[in-house]
Structures are given as structure tokens and as C-alpha cells.
Symmetry: C2
Subunit: 218 residues, 2 copies
Amino acid sequence: MVHGHLKPVSSRLTVQTIGRLSLYRRLLLEVSASGARQIYSHQLATAAVATPAQVRRDLMAIGFSGSPRRGYAVDDLIAAINAVLARNVETSVALVGVGNLGRAILAYFANREPWVRFTAAFDRDPDKVNRILHGCRVYPIDRAEEIIRRDGIRAAAIAVPASEAQHTADRLVLAGVRSFLNFAPVRLHVPTGTFVDDVDMTTALDRVAFYAHQPQGS
Amino acid sequence: MVHGHLKPVSSRLTVQTIGRLSLYRRLLLEVSASGARQIYSHQLATAAVATPAQVRRDLMAIGFSGSPRRGYAVDDLIAAINAVLARNVETSVALVGVGNLGRAILAYFANREPWVRFTAAFDRDPDKVNRILHGCRVYPIDRAEEIIRRDGIRAAAIAVPASEAQHTADRLVLAGVRSFLNFAPVRLHVPTGTFVDDVDMTTALDRVAFYAHQPQGS
DNA sequence: AGCTATCTGTGACTGCGTTCACAATGTGAA
DNA sequence: TTCACATTGTGAACGCAGTCACAGATAGCT
Ligand SMILES: NC(=O)c1ccc[n+]([C@@H]2O[C@H](COP(=O)([O-])OP(=O)(O)OC[C@H]3O[C@@H](n4cnc5c(N)ncnc54)[C@H](O)[C@@H]3O)[C@@H](O)[C@H]2O)c1
Ligand SMILES: NC(=O)c1ccc[n+]([C@@H]2O[C@H](COP(=O)([O-])OP(=O)(O)OC[C@H]3O[C@@H](n4cnc5c(N)ncnc54)[C@H](O)[C@@H]3O)[C@@H](O)[C@H]2O)c1
């Protein structure tokens, strides 16, 4: 029984489901490494801090089936998620802004997610360019359009100061980028059809500070 | 769909509203610096990439009123948001894990958000402790409970490897921390009444990779 | 002072993500 | 082979964040 395959469901997958699939895959890779070959929805749910029904709905959304009393086949499920999340191809991502955060990101993802690879980085500081950092070549920002077009890069992480973020996004959109990982604490204006995922640590820190003051359990 | 998750329902302010208020404040501080004294809901909405009705609802939620035809008083609104988000006091935050990401965070927030301050950092690597980094003292992890209790710290950022995150959270909870900024790509199990805001760059990158493959749009 | 344009405040509504609840399933045991 | 029952698959119900639409308000204009 083959589970999971490409199908015309992509546009029906919500952004929330995509996010949880990413989490499920990470958890499943550990489960698989530990030797388990089957897993129940309630087990995955516990690991993901979600409900069993949520897990089953998500797997239903990608057309993956389990079997009653045996649960889901771990390795097949990993393969199915791989097929959905990145079409089983390696996605090239550009990084703009090789500062403290940009360097941490290059270091972290260098060998960690095989399906995603930072293939080019850009900065406007002459001291930071024209070298290779964690396997990623750093170019001057002026060459961004050229490299992105040449390599057909469609995803980019923005790690420049907030004041430069919108301008940077505008350039990248024109060069062909249609999916952004935005670390700047501002919201980007992009054309319809362009995806932006905001990783706003500033807002997150403010939220954490707020809830630190809430009286326990009221 | 909510970015953070709280075990009980505590305030009438939703976590989404708290997040947007943080964004509004950041935008308003720029508006104020530029000299404007009043602002309309549709102007704030444009800057925040939201709708005017959304902005008005959020301000209504904190009991802030504007005036027809004049809009909202910028500085009063900033003060109102300050009062709500952190009770007008400086919130002390602990950092656990002074690696690449932890150091970037200490550097970034050192002088940027006056209402939040990293007052103590912890690491288990002896080479990284017993020094001051960007104004934050770094202690060995064994002293975490002692320092957190002594200083009454209730918020913490977790920037240790994923395999250490749950164990770290458990320790911090016992020491009195009830609000977490979690950078590890796992979901934390915490007691009811404890807040966790996940900043999951791994999931975010997977989402960005997914949408980079979507054929032109949505 | 009265009029008007336009913004705010908010009850009602909508859409959608999540959860519920249970019928369908098929496995493993006897 | 038969049976028992834990688990899956999913239509329906639910809850709530977000949006609509308009009544109410007020500053500026004549
Ligand atoms: N470091 C953190 O922990 C942290 C936390 C919250 C938010 N952020 C956000 O992430 C972004 C990066 O933060 P950081 O700490 O790495 O900043 P940083 O100042 O260390 O690095 C910014 C880098 O961007 C480069 N740059 C500036 N303008 C550019 C342009 N127009 N084109 C190309 N490169 C340009 C600079 O040369 C520098 O190398 C900022 O938007 C910041 O608000 C960072
Ligand atoms: N760096 C990034 O850009 C990035 C991206 C995505 C996710 N993350 C996550 O953020 C976290 C930190 O990432 P990083 O790149 O800074 O890792 P890192 O390896 O550079 O730093 C981890 C630090 O934690 C310390 N540590 C380990 N176990 C500890 C413990 N039990 N108690 C106290 N300290 C301990 C280590 O000594 C080290 O200094 C990880 O969970 C990682 O998955 C980081």
C-alpha cells in the first residue's frame, strides 16, 4: 500500500497545515531513527503538542492514509511530507544581510535541512563580501539581480536592518523572488501571489514580556 | 493558527492583538519621530499591512479612543500601548544558550527595547560563562535556579539545541519562569498557565521553500 | 450657527481552522 | 474463521478572529 504522492491539493493546503507538516517531519525523523516503524495519531499529536484529530486532518489533507489499529507507516509518511513540502527537490534560498543574525542562520542551516540550501548571500558592506561562509558565497548587493536571475532563485531570507527591508524586498521581487522569510520587524508590502513569512522576534519578545506579568492562571 | 499558546485563557486581550500592538508601537514611534501628532486607523493599517477595522478593534480592546476627523493622538497611543504591554515596567528576561543565535539576540536587543532587558544569560559551556556580553552577565547553567529566583525573573528565551530544550524548560518552570520565547524547533510541554511563543525558523524556512514552488500565486 | 464630509466605535455577520463524535475499518487474538 | 475493539477517516458542529456596514460623532468650512 503506497501512501502519499503528488496530487492537485497544493493550493488547498493552508499555511498552518504546511507549518505543522514541517514539524511532523522533524519529529518523525527522530521517531524513525529510534527504530519505530509505525506511529499513531495520538502519539504524533503529543509530540507536536496538538490533538489527534488535528494530525489526522493534516495527513488527510496531503492524501496520506494510515491503517486502523496499526497507525501510520513512519518512513512512508516522511516520504509523503517530503514530496509535498518541496516536491522532492532542493530549494535554493538567497540571504540578504550577512550581519549577526544572517551569519547565525548560515551556520545553522549549513548541513541541517537537505531539502533547503542557502546558495547565495548578499551584503552591501564591502568587508563582508567576496568570500564563502558555511558553504555559501557572499556577493555584493549590486550583483543580487544578476545572481538570482542566473540561478533561478525564488526564495529569499531578509536579514537587513528594518529601514532597508522594504527596499530590499522590492528589488528581490523584481529579480524573481516570490517567497520571503522576513526577519525585519516590519511588515512587507509585496504583490499578490508573493508569500511572506514573518519571523518577528521583536514582537515575540514583547508578547513574552506581556505574559510574564499576567497573574498565574487567571 | 495562533503564534503563541497559553494553557488557560487569561486576559480578554488575544495573543494576536498583543502581537499587533507591539507592531503598532514600533510603527508609531517612527511616526512620532517624524513629527506627526495624529494618525488615522487607515494609515496605521497600511503601515501594519492590516485593515482599518482591525486597527480600531485592537485599540478598542485596550480602551483607547480616538476622535472622528482627527484620528488617534500618536503619543497618547504609544503611552497606552506601553501601559498595556508591560505595565510600564522594565521586564527582565533570561537567556539560556549563548551560542550563535543567543549572541545575536543579546547584541540586537542590548539597547533597542527599553521595556525589555536581558539581565542574565546561562550556558553549560565553561568557555562561554563568567563574562559580560552586551551588558548581560553570562553564568554557568548550574546557577540558573539561584539567579532566576534571586532576581524574580519570570521570562526566558530558550536558545539551546533542540534536544536540550524540553529539559531546560522544565528547570526554568520550577525556578519560576512562566513565559518563554522558544527558538528550538520543537514544541514545549509546559504546565497550564505558562506561555510559550515559538519562533520556529526551521518551520518558517520550510514554508518559504514550499511557496517558492507554487505556480505564480497563493 | 448650521452644514457637511469623514472618521470613529461597534453590533452583526462571515469564513475558516479546529474539534467533536461516530461510523468504517482491519488487525490480532482465540 | 470469527470476534472484539483500538484506531482511522470524515461530515457536522463549534468557536472565534477578522470584516462589514452603518450609526454616531466632530472638526472644519461657509
Ligand atoms: N540579531 C537578532 O537577534 C535580531 C533580533 C530581532 C530582529 N532582528 C532583525 O534582523 C535583521 C538583521 O539583524 P542583525 O542583528 O543581523 O543586524 P546587523 O546590523 O548585524 O546586520 C545587518 C546586515 O545587513 C547589511 N545591510 C544593510 N543594508 C543593506 C542593504 N540595503 N542591502 C544588503 N545588505 C545590507 C549590513 O551590512 C549588515 O551586514 C534586522 O532587521 C533586525 O531588526 C535581528
Ligand atoms: N542559529 C540559527 O540561525 C537557528 C536557526 C533555527 C533554529 N535555531 C535554534 O536555536 C537554538 C540555538 O541555535 P544556535 O545556532 O545558537 O546553536 P549553538 O550550538 O550555536 O548554541 C547552543 C548553545 O547552547 C549551549 N547549551 C547546550 N546545552 C545546554 C544546556 N543544557 N544548558 C545551557 N546551555 C546549553 C551550548 O553550549 C551553546 O553555547 C537551537 O535550538 C536551534 O535549533 C537556530
